[in-house]
Symmetry: C2
Subunit: 99 residues, 2 copies
DNA sequence: GTGGGATTTCGACATGCATCGAATTGTGTG
DNA sequence: CACACAATTCGATGCATGTCGAAATCCCAC
């Protein structure tokens, strides 16, 4: 596996972040992460195949929304909520609170 | 010109709204509308052709973000900020405040 | 009605993206 | 080492989208 890249908070763009969240599957993933804290890839409840889920997680990670840390043969995914809050105050939290 | 369709506030979806905002040109349009109130099509400052701008305005309108009213041979575009605020509190305002 | 300006629509094109199954890589265990 | 499991990557496919110029539509003034 190649090294995981996490963009610096300052380099996260608003259109990039909004684009990552403008997808049903990815929005669902982010919501699940907000509730459950760290989640392993295979435990997400999404209506797509494993390879598609992996693609979405990559998009979210490269947009700066996720932090991924290997744990043995698993990978732990965490929402970078506090960091996004400093970058774009209120945006992610209000999206998470939306019905 | 066919009749203009404006979706009801209740039928606006979060992914739909975020998708409409996840574009540099459209985000710029929304920002200009937030500052200037009603703006006529030809007065937007965007780096695309007139036909492309028209396409983006249509996307924004169909996403529920804009209200378009004919005024003579012009069209007045207004941001549906208050309505969006009742639908998804804080989302659009925090996006507009983001740097 | 004729003309002109504002805006949209109509192809057309290139690009991007969500999706899948199969193959691959990585990690721990027997 | 060999095997099983987790996750990614690859290759392919179909669909959506951003972009343009040209043509069409709409509205007002003359």
């Amino acid at each position: 596996m190649r090294a995981l890249h996490h963009p610096d908070v300052a380099s996260v763009t608003l259109p990039g972040m909004l684009n990552a969240l403008a997808d049903e599957v990815r929005l669902s993933v982010v919501r699940q992460l907000a509730e459950a804290g760290g989640v392993v890839c295979g435990q997400f409840d999404v209506p797509v195949s494993m390879s598609t889920l992996s693609h979405h997680l990559k998009v979210l990670r490269e947009a700066g929304l996720l932090r991924v840390t290997p744990e043995g043969s698993f990978r732990r995914h965490e929402l970078r909520l506090a960091e996004m809050e400093t970058r774009f105050p209120g945006v992610l939290t209000s999206i998470l609170q939306a019905a």
